[in-house]
């Protein structure tokens, strides 16, 4: 992809620090990658020095390890277990509190959030994840306040990917490794003697922010090198997913025996749904005081891998693990398209890495569609 030469600028390491300061000065809470508990997680950054300098990650099915790179790259890794979803759709949020008064109750709705977030180092697949959740939560007839009130004020400083993990497949689903849009600023990191970042501007807010930090115009050569970083990353994707006809094939294979096979390996732990940047399911949980005086209703992340998820009086609809795996896979890759006109998977690979037994969505999808009956099933 050609970079827009007229707007591209170059930032050095001091410029990166200045960028974080400029965000703080604009009252953003800066959320970015940070080494914590042996992983690169997303957390508040107080300065660019908090970034995982010199770290990379080794990701394979059911496997994640930090590894030292031997250089001082700031963004030399792929995505960790957290996605911006953790901040835009928090794992727990309050809906209301209520006080009982004998025969009835009085409600107090939750307060709106007071913080606004800037995401530094957000990856192309994560921007795509936000765009997918936008379709879920902000529609003609719905503005999910929990999500929208956090989402609508964000600022994104994306970083195009140079180090895809072994579990990544964004290139095959068209979400990366270079972001085309959806960012305020986007950086390509060029590691080396002259350590610098090529910056593209994606919005007026981004332009305004960039004007507040020291930059230089990008040279012709910088743009070529930056494009090569992501072209090279494309070729080094660990996996791929063929999306052509995927929906029809999967809906034609709802009775596939492969679901029984994967159910023998799947622990139904729900990790894949919690790390997934697009999974949106939540529960409503009442915390009732024992004496009946007070209750608080909370919205919490839920997973279709639990039996309780589909519970109706008398028992869960999806009792078998194979039926729950089928719900997950067919939702992500098939029925999501009916609902939101987009694939429910952005190819980040998290569900593969964080599956304790290393189940691989790309491999299962391939195996299941191979069992599709032409004209059969629920298409």
């Amino acid at each position: 992809m050609a970079l827009a030469a007229e707007t591209a600028r170059v930032l050095d390491l001091e410029g990166l620090e200045a960028l974080v300061e400029a965000l703080h000065a604009r009252d953003y809470e800066v959320i970015g990658p940070r080494v914590r508990d042996g992983v690169i997680s997303l957390a508040p950054l107080s300065s660019a020095a908090d970034l995982p300098i010199g770290w990379s990650d080794d990701q394979r099915p059911g496997h994640y390890r930090l590894v030292e790179r031997g250089d001082d790259a700031r963004f030399g890794y792929a995505v960790g277990p957290d996605a911006p979803k953790r901040w835009l759709l928090p794992p727990h949020s309050e809906v209301f509190e209520a006080e009982g008064d004998g025969t009835g109750f009085t409600l107090r709705p939750a307060e709106p959030p007071s913080r606004r977030f800037a995401f530094l180092g957000v990856r192309p697949c994560e921007l795509a994840g936000i765009a997918v959740q936008d379709r879920v939560f902000i529609r003609d007839d719905l503005r999910d306040v929990t999500y929208a009130s956090r989402r609508e004020d964000i600022l994104t400083v994306a970083v195009h990917c140079g180090e895809p993990a072994g579990t990544c497949f964004c290139a095959s689903v068209g979400t990366g490794p270079r972001a085309e849009d959806g960012f305020d600023l986007a950086l390509t990191e060029l590691v080396g003697e002259d350590h610098r970042f090529v910056v593209e501007v994606g919005s007026e807010q981004g332009r305004e922010l960039l004007a507040a930090v020291p930059t230089e115009p990008a040279a012709e050569g910088d743009l070529t090198v930056a494009a090569a970083v992501t072209d090279d990353a494309s070729r080094r994707m660990g996996r791929d997913l063929d999306t052509e006809g995927l929906r029809e094939d999967l809906l034609g294979a709802l009775g596939s025996s492969r679901y029984r096979d994967v159910a023998r390996r799947c622990l139904a732990c729900g990790n894949c749904t919690f790390v997934c940047p697009t999974c949106f399911c939540t529960g409503l949980v009442d915390r009732n005081a024992l004496d009946g005086s007070h209750t608080a209703r909370e919205r919490t992340w839920n997973s279709c891998f639990t039996i309780g998820f589909s519970y109706i009086h008398g028992g869960g609809i999806r009792e078998s693990v194979s039926s729950r795996y089928r719900q997950w896979l067919t939702h992500k890759l098939a029925t999501w398209q009916d609902q939101f006109d987009v694939l429910g998977c952005v190819g980040c690979g998290r569900c593969i890495t964080w599956c304790p037994v290393g189940i691989d969505i790309t491999e299962e999808a391939r195996a299941i569609r191979a069992t599709a009956v032409p004209g059969g099933g629920a298409r």
Binding site: V145, R247, R326, Q337, D341
Partner: protein, 289 residues
Amino acid sequence: MSAPTLSPRPTTTGPVDERLLPVPHRVVDVRRDTADTMTIGLEPIHGMPPPFEPGQVDMLYAFGTGEVPISISSSTQVADRREYTIRRVGAVTTALTNVERGDRIGVRGPFGVPWPVEAARGGDVVVIAGGIGLAPLRAAILHVLEHRQAYGQLSLLYGARTAGDILYREELETWRSRLDVDIDVTIDAAGSGWHGNVGVVTRLVPRARFDEQRATALLCGPEVMMRYGAQALLDRGIAPERIFVSAERNMLCGIGTCGHCQLGPYFLCHDGPVLSWDRVGPYMSVREL
């Protein structure tokens, strides 16, 4: 990719979607239907309830216990109060069936796509209900009776477990005494004193009076009953586009965000619960979907 089907809904600018906040209502009527089923009438503490259509559901909130989806069973013509027919099966439905006049219950709704009572005008209506499934259909039956001249034949085929489980007994007798309504009731297990049909409700379909070309069928009951019922109707020649079922899944938010009510591509809280058989049949016929 086909475009998502969404029913129109309001937006909100407050800190929480107001459709997630239960509105306090007062219990104004309590009637026992059967050993485990009660019909309760609710009125808002302040103002009038929003309008609804037959087949829509409300989330009923028993403070301190929990919240569950319950269909509105009363007539749409009664503007100031709503009735709900509730079978006691667990914690929340026990709390809701133990209420007394004057108690307060939270209500939010109405949610979902209603029975196609407008589209059914001009033709026959065949209603097939199993057990508590008659409750969500009551508002539709009342609607047809209130606009009787707009419809052709009205047939109600109703199956209950035992004679003691038959809902709305007095109302059924009143409807049966009308010349323009056919009612056929069957029970699974007859004791002494029952002289009516015994067996599953779907067996009543072949002899029910309706014109296959002009009829609209409305079904609600256990999922197997709806599958067999739909098949019996298809066998008689009703098009799948004119067979409607009310599907049941776990429902929490009612506004299309929590994901619990999914059945294949549908969110039952806004694409359903009422769906035509051509759309939902292929999914309902797959076990554990």
